[in-house]
């Protein structure tokens, strides 16, 4: 049930953020981004309420939802004292983090 809530919560959060971004973008033409924001630019974009900030945050929320699910699964397997699956899940999370690090390198 926890996993179900995380998955749904992630989608809803993402759809709402993207919707705000697209709405802001259609109100002020010419501001819709075509390349992804770098993490460092995200804070300023959000403070200035630019469509790019909301869109980037929505897309990142969508990508991170499965990652959050994997992280939670580690906690679940830890609680069940299932050592084999704690290990397997940690490897999956490590692969995902490896993808992030590799991408920005």
């Amino acid at each position: 049930m926890l996993i179900y809530r995380v998955l749904w919560g992630g989608i809803l959060l993402s759809v709402v953020l993207i919707f705000i971004g697209l709405l802001l973008g259609s109100l002020s033409p010419g501001q819709l981004p075509q390349t992804p924001l770098k993490p460092a630019e995200l804070a300023t974009a959000l403070v200035s309420l630019s469509p790019a900030g909301f869109l980037a945050l929505g897309v990142i929320a969508m990508i991170l939802t499965p990652v959050a699910r994997v992280f939670l699964s580690i906690l679940v397997y830890l609680e069940e004292r299932d050592r084999v699956y704690v290990l397997i899940t940690v490897i999956v999370l490590a692969n995902l983090l490896f993808g992030i690090v590799l991408g920005f390198a």
């Binding site: 759809v15 981004p33 897309v59 990508i63 084999v84 397997i88 995902l96 993808g99």
Partner: protein, 286 residues
């Protein structure tokens, strides 16, 4: 190129239709949206792939949450195979970014599309139980024997999982195709689980959906940081697919597609041929 507004509205409509068709016919949105973006809207194929991946996560996560709630997904098997699919996806995304000739992606996409058409026309006989009494040492060690509740008649059915090692190897290939071409890859994973691993159809579909989101997330980071992910296009796709999937799931409960499925398959195969031709005739369509 069209004005941005026209492109976005066209893409929104296409994403809604892809969401409806995808959940109705059992194929993901990516296989429809990437040809639409590249052939009709002249979006760069790498941008289309990167953008589609986000839509794939949205579709999979939405469906997966329902399957998890209904206890159809085999969570342990999914996690085990995700070790392989995530690594495959990372490798696939890297190849897509680094491959010097974009036309290679068009040709590969066309081939995979035609293959997926075959899967759509002949999805295989639906099975409810694994007849083979399979107990490999690895499957026992990974506690892969599981059960699911069949909602058709409310009975609980136990099943075993055959050949987890072979499944793991093919999982890496499925992940690589997903990361390389921006599709979910259910058309590889579902036959892998039903035919090779002898899992009943319903949990196979549910587990595949459950894995696709994590697999796609692995390559999404690489496309994002590579600068290929267009947040505006991705945003439109997420909203469109989200709306379309909710309609399609309701349709699926009511009707059994027969002729529609066949007509659609012919259309898909034709688009697959167009994708291959696009590699040789750059000015094709747009």
């Amino acid at each position: 190129m069209f004005p941005l507004g026209v492109t976005l509205v066209a893409l929104l409509v296409a994403a809604i239709l892809a969401g409806v068709a995808g959940s109705y016919l059992g194929i993901g949105g990516g296989i429809l949206l990437i040809p639409f973006m590249t052939l009709a809207l002249s979006v760069d194929i790498r941008v289309a792939i990167a953008t589609s991946i986000v839509g794939v996560i949205a579709t999979s996560t939405g469906a997966a949450s329902v399957y998890v709630r209904d206890r159809l997904s085999h969570l342990r098997l999914g996690m085990f195979l995700e070790v392989a699919t995530t690594l495959g996806a990372i490798a696939g995304a890297f190849v897509a970014i680094l491959v010097p000739d974009r036309n290679v992606l068009f040709i590969l996409f066309g081939i995979v599309m035609i293959y997926a058409t075959g899967y759509m026309v002949r999805p295989g006989v639906a099975t409810t139980a694994s007849d083979a009494k399979v107990t490999s040492r690895l499957a026992a060690r990974l506690k892969l024997a599981d059960e699911y509740v069949d909602q058709a008649d409310g009975t609980t059915r136990a099943y075993d999982v055959a050949r987890p090692g072979v499944g793991f190897g093919f999982g890496a290939i499925a992940g690589a195709v997903s990361g390389l071409l921006g599709v979910g890859g259910g058309f590889i994973q579902v036959p892998l689980m039903t035919v090779v691993m002898k899992i009943p159809t319903k949990p196979a579909v549910a587990t595949s959906n459950f894995m696709i989101g994590v697999t796609a997330a692995a390559s999404a980071f690489i496309y994002y940081s590579g600068g290929f992910l267009d947040p505006t296009l991705a945003g439109v796709i997420v909203v469109g697919v989200f709306a379309g999937t909710r309609v399609g799931t309701r349709l699926m409960v009511r009707a059994r597609p027969g002729m529609i499925r066949l007509a659609f398959a012919v259309l898909l195969a034709a688009i697959g041929v167009l994708m291959i031709l696009k590699a040789f005739i750059p000015g094709l369509i747009v």
